[in-house]
Every structure is written in C-alpha cells, then in structure tokens.
Symmetry: C2
Subunit: 406 residues, 2 copies
C-alpha cells in the first residue's frame, strides 16, 4: 500500500518505518525532492541510514543534515517526539496506514515550471501528525480548500463563512491553514455548518500558530482534524507556510481563494492546484479592494481558474471534473439535506427501481440535458445516484424512501 | 465602397440611396435580415420599390411593411425626416460615405446560435443618424464600449468613471448607450478624461431617451457623437434596445461590462461581442452585490470572457488581439500621458534612432520578454513605436524628444 519500497526487516508502517519518517522530517524539510526520492526507492529506514552516514549527493541536503545532526541524534529526537505526541493525543499517520490520504501521492509527479528552491521541494509528505477524531484519508477524500489573506476585509470574512457553511452542510470537509482572516473564517463557517474542518499547520501540532487562534484550534481538534507534516516542537518558520501550501493544493478536491493581496502566497498555491489539474476557484471582489487584487490577478493569469460566487458553484466545479469521491458515503440524513430545486427535480425524475437515460431524466424533469448531467454528477458524488450499464439509477444505500429527498 | 449592389440610376450614397435607406428604416426595424439581404443584393432604392409593391416572401416583414405603409407614405416620411434632421443639425451617414464605420460590416456574417426573433435580426445598419463634430468612422475606429446596469451601485458608478476616464486619456473613444447608471457614468468619465464619447441611442436623435439625461446628451453632442439607426421621431421602444446592442458590440474594438443583474441585457450584448471575436471584458464585483451577479454569470458561462480591473487592463486586452487601429493618431501631448511604469521603461529602452529587437529591449529595460512584447504592442497602438524590418523603433511623429514620455 505504501509508496515506499519494501524492506524485509523494516516493513512499511512498522515501528522502524514510522520512527525513520519522523527522524527524516526532523533532518530535512518536508517535500524535499532528494529525500522523498530515496525513501521512494529504498524505504525510510535505509534512507535515514544513508543520510546519517553522510552519503548524500545533494550538497544543500548534505549541509542541512549535518547541521541538524549536530543539534541532536535524529533517532533519539524521533523517540522523544513520538512519546510526546502520544501524551498530547496526537497520532502519526504514514503511507502504509489505512487512513493515509490518497490524493497527496499526486505530488510525486507534479512539475512546476519555476526553478526556485521552494518550488523544487514539492514532493509528497513522508508522514502526517494528526489530532482529532476522524480518519484522515476519509475526511480529506471529499474536501475543499478555502484559502486567502490574513488581513481579510469584512467582505472576505462574510463570504468565506457563507461558502464554508454551505460546503460543510453539503457533507464536504473544509480545509484551510490556521491563520487569522480567511483561514479562521473558513473553519468557523464549516463548524457552524455542522461538518468537518481540517487545519493544516506549518509547525508542530503541539503549538498551533498563531496562539490567538488557540480556542479555535481546540474546537477544530474536537470536531475535525488538526494536521501537520512537522514534528512536535517545530517552529512556524516563514518558508514552512509555502512548503505546507502544496498539501493544501494536493489533499483536496479543489481550492477556493476568497481574498488575496497582489502577488500573494495564494497565487503560489493556485499555481500548484492548476499543476495538479484540480479545480482552481476564485471569489471575485470589488476591483477597488486591495484584498481582491490577488484574486483578479489569478483569474487574469490563469485561463483555467474559475469564478465562483457560492457554495453551490464550488460543488458544481468539483462535480465538473467528473471524479467519483463517494467512497465514504455519509448517513442519508446528511446527504439529502440542502438539495437545490433543480437537483431535487432530477432526483424526483428517477424511477424507484430500474435505470433510465439522462435524456429520459431531462424530459421527465423538464430541464435541459446539460443541467441534468451536472446534477446527476453531483448526485452521484453524494452517493444518491449510481451509474448503470445503460444509464443512471437511484442508489439504494438505505431503506429510506426517495421522497425523503424532496 | 458600399455593401449595397450598384444601380446605374441610383448610385450608392446619392440622394435616392439615402432617402431609400431612411424609408426602409422607417418601414422595418434596423437589423432585419430580409431587408438587409435585399439591399445587399439590389441596393436600397430597388429594395424599397419591391417592399412597397408587396413582393415580400417573409410573412412577418410583409405584415410589418403593410402596417407601416398604412400609417404614411414611406418616401414622404423620409423626405420629412431628412428635412427635420437638417434643421436639428443631424446628418445621415450611409455605407457609401467616407465616415461610415467599417467594423459594423462584421454583423453581415455574425451567426447566433439562438433562434429567437431579436437574435435573427442582427444584420448591419442601413444608415446612422449622427449629431456631433467628429467623423463617425474615425471616432469608432479606436473605441471601447462600456455597458452595464441602469440601477448601478455607487461602486459601479465609481469604477465606470475611472475606467472611462483612463480609456479616454489614452486616446480611445468611449461608447455606451444613453441610460442612467453605467451608461451615463461612462460618458461623464470619458468627458472628464478629455476624449471623445459616443452615445448609441435606440430612438430618434431628436429626442434622446431618457429625458433626465438631456443635459448630458447635449454635452455629448458637443464633445463627441450622438448616433442612432432610427429615424427622427422614433420612440424608444423596449425591443429597440436589444436591436441597438448589436451595434455597441460591433462598432467597437471591445466591450466592458461593469455591473449587470442576473440574466440582463448585458449578457446578450456580450454573447454578440464573443460571436464577433472581439474582446469581451468583465469588471468583477462583490459576490454579495445583486448588480455584479450578471458580471459573474458572464465570466462563468463564457470561457473567453476576461476579467478587467483597470483602464490599463482594458487596453491590454484590446492590444492582445493584435489589431492596429492607429489610423488617427492624436497629438503627442495626449499619447505620452499616463504610461505605466513598465511601459515607460520599455519606451526608455528604445534608442533615439535606429531599430532594436524586442530581446534587446527586454535586456535594456530588465523586463521579461513577454512583458516587453505586450508593452510594445500597446505603444504601437498608441503610435509611439513602429515595427521595422528587423525589430522596433521609436515613431518620430513630432519633433519632440522621447524624454517627454518619461
């Protein structure tokens, strides 16, 4: 199951693999191309041995490893970190675990056309530290990132809250960073919508940054997930936010930027979202607002970035890519909620038993075929409709009558 | 020069041609496909003869002509209208005239995919009534349409004023309708920018509608142009605004929508702009504003519609299509104003004499080549730079030193 190579004495997911991944993340920043490539080829324990022996072709990595090793024995640091995490109620998730999120693997093949250091260190995470009650992979499977400026305006905060609540009510997870402004508004909106929210930190999850959001972080750990690639104790250094951003882009089904200043980090995240072929969505704003300049820049510079103005449009954009994420259907009491009128008409037009063609649905619902296809896509994602050999049919996942959905 | 067929006794542009075009516009609404096709094949006088003889295959047109003829003799009406126009200081412009605007001919080939009546009557104008001191064709050659809602917000009014003033200062004509809201703000902004503005009416230019804009219309007729396809005395009927919109789309180098409600007339105009392969530009706004819903709809429904946030971006979009409209260069005192920093750097990087390659300009200006190419394109449109066999050179249109441009 793991992307890492097999090793007879140190099976992926075993104690040695886990400790080696923690030590490697302590030695070099997550996303490091050379480290990830070695782990992919030889496994984490062998990579750790090799790095500690000084056999490192990459000069920059060799320097970093030497500096970190001088500060402490990486294997000993890993032990300490694992013990402290256990006391904090945090768990380590590695690629061999069932709850490893599958989408981050796409970072293995992502290429960025800029040659800078941050853009070269974009490989998949070696591990995640996780606090919260939900399985990580299942929670991220149906997730949307909402990102934006710390110095958000009341407009941005309001729109973010509405978007996040709508996404959350539709049974999708909201994911964001931990910053003030748009990030915090996204988590609060998702919590108010009754769904899960995930904060991806750029520091140890023992000390989520900024401290001003501590009460919010505690609430996220109770109702959603706090996650980080960095070991317990890691500081929120500036460059780590840029490294972290690749996980926001890769772990979700799509990313929405609500407000961003000119040449902001949001543009960098969006370029990764686009490089990963995920929906890159932008909320426009007043052209007179400095906090919308970055949003409009992204729209002007990326023909594939799309304007979105509501949670419904966000879900439509995600449905557009035609992926099927309903591996973890929610209970029917969630999935039937908040259908818009057209979606309800499409659902009503499906026979209780047997399958029909989308054209038949369109005729019955008196909607045009394009609308019907989009709505069917959303209903399929929601687990309410299934494709059959010759058309579509109601998915009978529970004993409930379809009229519950009206 | 005329699109109309030649006729030995009635040369295009002669008195019979002119009177027949006025009579035809009085008999049938402008844009009528059947009338335009007959005029194109046989000329206006022969078409008028044929329509008045009742030899009309199109049943709808036959009905309209019969109803109008019963209200008065079309030839007599044309005489009256031409005499009244002369007293009002308005002139008739027909395709054979030097000042006929060349771009509206593109309506001859435009096809819309919707089958409605308004969308079928999209053929070129037969004539324009014009009030104002400038040649019509030259004025429209370098023009941008700014359109939007009557019930504009203060945000829309402000942004429109800034856009129109910037476009006007760059030596481009602003064109709009005559309505309250965005239209009026566009004209006011253009006048404040010191340039020409053109109001395209959907009624006779003796009675520009709405009357509340009378002072503005008088100012437009003094400093720019008031134009209409409808004869003196024509009422501003509702459907005429939709017919008029095709001229807004076709007469300009590109169209900007600033504010629009959901499913507004602006969306119809923009679909024509796109059908004509002209830049369709949209100013975004708060997603919480009902007056920006139409703008965001246009962006979501048309992948080729582009976000613009400033006059500079509007001119860049128009420059992007690579057309060269600088047939009527303004005086250098106009053209050097308001260069942005990058454009000024590019201009500074050009030698006083001789030509250089864009790559040399990029090296000298320390800008990337893509930026340099875009700025050179704008400077070329502005008449400040000329292409040479092996590169680009300063255009020496006046004796002034290039440092005036800094």
């Amino acid at each position: 199951m793991s992307a890492a190579g097999m090793n007879g004495t140190c099976p992926p997911g075993g104690p040695e693999d886990r400790a080696a991944r923690v030590a490697l993340t302590w030695l070099a920043e997550p996303g490091n191309r050379a480290v990830w490539t070695l782990v992919h080829q030889a496994g984490a324990p062998a990579t750790l041995d090799r790095l500690l022996s000084g056999d490192i072709p990459d000069a920059r990595l060799r320097g970093a490893v030497a500096a970190r090793s001088a500060a402490g024995d990486p294997r000993r640091m890993a032990e300490i970190v694992l013990r402290r995490a256990d006391r904090l109620g945090a768990r380590l998730v590695v690629p061999a675990d069932d709850e490893w999120p599958r989408r981050v693997a796409d970072l293995a093949a992502m290429e960025m056309d800029t040659g800078g250091r941050i853009n070269s260190d974009i490989r998949p995470p070696l591990c995640f530290w996780v606090r919260g009650p939900w399985p990580l992979g299942e929670t991220l499977e149906r997730s949307v990132a909402i990102i934006g400026a710390r110095a958000a305006t009341s407009y941005g905060i309001h729109v973010t809250g509405e978007l996040a609540a709508g996404i959350s009510k539709s049974g999708w997870t909201v994911l964001s960073g931990g910053a003030f402004g748009i990030d915090a508004a996204a988590h609060r909106g998702a919590i108010s919508g009754g769904g899960r929210t995930v904060a991806v930190l750029a520091c140890g999850i023992d000390r989520p940054y900024p401290a001003g959001n501590t009460a919010l972080f505690d609430r996220i750990a109770d109702t959603g997930l706090l996650i980080s690639e960095w070991p317990i104790g890691a500081e929120p250094l500036r460059h780590r936010f840029l490294i972290r951003n690749r996980v926001i882009a890769a772990a979700t089904a799509g990313t929405v930027v609500v407000e961003a200043a000119a040449r902001s980090g949001a543009a960098q995240t969006m370029s990764r979202v686009l490089a990963l072929d995920r929906p890159a969505m932008v909320v426009p704003g007043p052209v007179t607002s400095a906090m919308s300049v970055g949003c409009h820049e992204i729209l002007r510079n990326n023909p594939y970035a799309r304007v979105v103005t509501s949670a419904g449009e966000v879900l439509e954009e995600i449905g557009r890519i035609g992926e099927y994420y309903a591996e973890t259907p929610r209970g029917p009491e969630r999935r039937h909620d908040h259908l818009d009128e057209e979606t309800a008409l499409v659902l009503e037009a499906l026979p209780r038993n047997g399958s029909v063609t989308p054209e038949q649905v369109a005729a019955e619902a008196r909607l045009n075929l394009r609308t019907v296809l989009r709505r069917l896509s959303l209903l399929e994602i929601a687990g309410l409709v299934a494709r059959t050999g010759d058309g579509v049919a109601l998915a009978h996942v529970s004993g409930r009558n379809r009229h519950d959905a009206g």
